[in-house]
Amino acid sequence: MDYRRYGFIAAIVITLIAIVTNIGAAQVPPTAIVSSMIGTTIAVATPLTLGALCGVFCERAGVVNIGIEGMMLTAAFTGWFGALYITSVLHASPMLGLLVGVLIAIASGALVGLLHAALTVSFAVDQIIAGTVVNLLAAGLTGFLNRQLFFGQGSAFGGQIPRAAGVLPRVRVPLLADIPLVGSVFDQQPIALSALVLVALAHFVLFYTRWGLRTRSVGEHPRAAAAAGIDVLRVRYVNIVIGGAIAGLGGAYFTLESVPSFEPLMTNGRGFIALAAMIFGNWKPVGALSAALVFGAAQAFQINLQLFRESIPPKFNFLQQSSVVGMIPYLLTLLILTGIIGKTTPPAADGVAYDPERRT
């Protein structure tokens, strides 16, 4: 069943890359385009992969998390603010600022995770509503703080717009990055590389460790897990906070790895695409990564098509409109969600609050 899924994904990714390569072939050698498309795909898929991993951890423990968007947005803001503060007020080196910024982003993601855990686990709030609270709160707070801290009278930077610390530099993995054509997978910025590592790690933790077994049992049948001596509430709390930290790293991607700036609402629905990637990936880390790659390829398609817009055949003039091509990732998400490539099965207790004092 999973193979069918991966075949479908490979087909979409290859088609998108082939179209761009065809259109741009007159200007740039095809191998260079393929290599660049693969690199962009990985880069764009990074926040989606990390967001989806966050979802996997939460939902394997039985808590629906549609607040990934808010977690990433908060982390993008705090990481950005931290990096700026360290470099321009404390006059540290840009590299140190960026690294501490990433750590701050991870910590703030974990903190938002704690809020989601408190709402869903302790207060038994409807989990989708709790996620919506997280999203709206993150949007409101980051918008408010962005104006207040950067542009307000008493701003941390004295009303001046501070100089950005830049973005995290590329890291070449020795040997692997020299492979022709697909070497660009290993010639990435650090958060993109760590996303690939985290997928492998998450797979191992969830399916080969005691903690993973406990997590999954809590997500499938919390009462049975409790009877076996597992502290259901604690397992849920820890997993949501871990998920939040991972989403925080995904948030850092936006302001510390992709572009050196913060815009209100800059996550732009990526948290929800991550969620769709998680569902399509059947609540598995590797599946989530593969689905994230589809959206990554769709975005890479949009970006690269803009570069070669002059060469688009007149018949396909509409592809020159960025708003038309911009629909593709979202339409793909819809298509994928309709389940044409087989049904997915969520953890049985996903979305249900657990009350230790009730016997059902």
Binding site: V133, L136, G152, T333, G339
Partner: protein, 374 residues
Amino acid sequence: MPNLTTNETNTNAPKTGDKLRKLLAPWTVPALAVLTAMAVGAILIVVAGGDPLAAYLGMLDGSLGSPRAVSETLLWSTPYILTGLSVAFAFQGGLFNIGAEGQLALGALTAALVGYSLHLPAVIHVPLTILAGAVAGGLWGAVPGWLKAKTGGHEVISTIMLNYVALNAVTFLLAGPMKDPAPGNVLARTPLIDETARLSPILSGFRLHWGFPIALAVAALVAWVLRRTTLGFEIRTVGANPDAARYAGMKVGRTIVVSMALSGALAGLAGAIEVSALNHRHELGFSQGYGFDAIAIALLGKTKPAGVVPAALLFGMMRSGAPRMQFLTQIPTDVISVIQALILLFVAADVMVRRLYRLRGDGERIVITRGWGS
């Protein structure tokens, strides 16, 4: 049903004080949630270096301080009532419609198209413009309903994806095929709609228009449909328990599509009224996030029309008073979004509010979703 219990306990406790308390009981938690959110907002304002009392008084002055301010408040409330009803209506059917924003945008777009491309007498043109918007929103809303009924694709994700599709489509149309061809126009916006397609102001000199009473009438209509019609009964039953509804012979899939379509129609209506009565054209980015605020409004109003209207009025007050607050105290209007999110937080986590104010009893739980499976 809450009415039943009220009557029963009243026979045991005939004191008027108790009667009043029972009457106010459903409002206690939302009211305290609003107060608590404003208190937390006050802390935020202090941290930002402002005077919360002055800020809130400024907001009050800006929203209710003059006839013009009241007119602006009701103006803001109009799309809030309709989009709030849209989200609340879906909630009643057990569906979470995050797509009101996209449905509103397409409703506005279609209304603008009918408004400027057709030339008819006002008696036909006005209702046609508004209805066209509602139909467009309804069709856009039916899509996620259909996806859910046919394939089980969860509406939370599909409505969000459709928001982005709608946004991109609207951007494309406003910048290209539907762009105002007037010389010198560089903005992504449609031409002005005909005079015959415009809803007029209620009082000359004020911006408040007939869309507001229409929104109130629609609220009453929605309440009637939900409480008194077979369709409303089916929608609520499917929302409460789809398995029981199926067992009772209801067509669950069809009901889901109808719920989402009507929910979308309400959001589309909101967009159409904004175009017909206020902006007289569709301009890119005209919506101030009505569709997202609507989620908080619907929950604050306990997903019932009778609650949505006051919740929308409150949000309308906040929005219309915010510029005055910013003018008087230099507190950015963004603080309003934070307070609104906090209101939603405290309404959702009512246990928190109950503990904070030492309230007894367990409020009626709003069950919205049952995970991804259903």
